[in-house]
């Protein structure tokens, strides 16, 4: 019997591919933003509000991941170029699907490419899709104890967006508690509060996106 010792990162090839995509898109001025959340936290609503706010100022496209149906893409496509990535039951997106989605859109040269990941705080966290920025959403209806339960996604994200803040008077949710819990895991996490229904916080969120685009893409020029 022979034992071959390799000590190799199983995802090494996927990570290298993601790095190539990140650089390719970064060089041409596209900031790739990967959005994570539980189902129903408001990823699509945040993107609708973002698309309306950025209209006429910045260009954007969206790749929407879902297990089945193109319902989210139908909501977004009247506003911005959108491709649906249907995973056929799989719980997360992988880079080949993202590349197919980009091809379907004609590989557009946009300022922002948003990837709306499958609603799941577990599996998507382990897959690099070539993003420059990871954003995790927590809605006020989910409870403020989420970060500690899903440490990996909070550890690997740079930003947390608390959504549905209009419901704060009616639900037992504390923005300071969720922020403190998340920052125990990721002390540098930026935190935003938004309500996509009445656009509260969308201006600040979009300003942040523009700043991030400038600073993160400076590395490629």
């Amino acid at each position: 019997m022979t034992t071959i010792t390799v000590r190799r990162d199983i995802a090494l090839e996927a990570k290298q591919d993601a790095g190539i995509e990140r650089e390719r898109l970064g060089r041409r001025g596209t900031l790739v933003v990967n959005l994570f959340s539980s189902p129903g936290s408001g990823k699509t609503s945040l993107l609708e509000a973002t698309a309306r706010h950025l209209a006429g100022k910045n260009s954007m496209a969206v790749l929407v991941g879902d297990l089945e149906t193109d319902r989210d893409a139908q909501r977004l496509s009247p506003l911005v170029p959108t491709a649906q990535l249907t995973t056929g039951g799989a719980c997360h997106l992988e880079l080949p699907l993202v590349r197919r989605g980009l091809e379907a859109l004609g590989d557009p040269q946009v300022d922002f490419l948003f990837i709306e990941n499958v609603g799941n705080l577990v599996c998507p966290a382990s897959h690099d899709l070539g993003e420059h920025l990871r954003v995790v959403l927590v809605s006020t209806t989910e409870g403020d104890d989420k970060p500690g339960k899903y440490p990996k996604i909070f550890r690997t994200s740079q930003t947390m967006v608390v959504t549905k803040t209009d419901l704060l008077p009616h639900v037992p949710f504390s923005v300071s508690a969720v922020t403190a819990d998340a920052r125990r895991i990721q002390p540098d996490l930026k935190v935003f509060e938004v309500c996509a229904r009445d656009n509260t916080g969308i201006d600040t969120w979009c300003q942040y996106l523009r700043q991030e685009r400038t600073t993160r893409l400076a590395a490629y020029s």
Binding site: R7, I10, A125, R155
Partner: protein, 122 residues
């Protein structure tokens, strides 16, 4: 439940290693998992059992080495084990860098050599 796609990828790499080393049959696959790998050991084992159907790997056992989560303080350089996913330095409260525990590594592949199988067959 992304363990199935991870196992498919793992088995592809194991098969490449078997072929390039002239092995006939894989007997053991050893991996290393950290608490922040996003991989659940029990689900990994069951996905492995389900998916290793090829004759060259069907009798292989999967050995999972679970390692602890270690971090290093960027300010005062204290090294410590992270408990309860609290990523602040216990010494000075500074930001930390994870040094171990994010990985999902293929550590080693054990196999019978082609010659060995021929010998036992005769």
């Amino acid at each position: 439940m992304h363990e199935q796609s991870l196992v498919r990828n793992l088995l592809k790499q194991v098969e490449q290693i078997r072929q390039s080393n002239g092995g006939s049959r894989v007997t053991e696959v050893r991996v290393q998992l950290g608490p922040l790998s996003g991989v659940e050991p029990a689900l990994l084992s069951s996905a492995f059992a389900q998916l290793c159907t090829d004759a060259t790997v069907s009798t292989a056992s999967l050995v999972i080495d679970q390692v602890e989560l270690l971090a290093n303080c960027e300010a005062c350089q204290t090294e410590f084990e992270v408990h309860g996913f609290q990523f602040r330095c216990p010494n000075c409260g500074g930001s930390v860098k994870v040094t171990q525990g994010e990985e999902f590594l293929l550590v080693s592949v054990s196999m019978d050599s082609a010659e060995f199988v021929e010998e036992t067959a005769t």
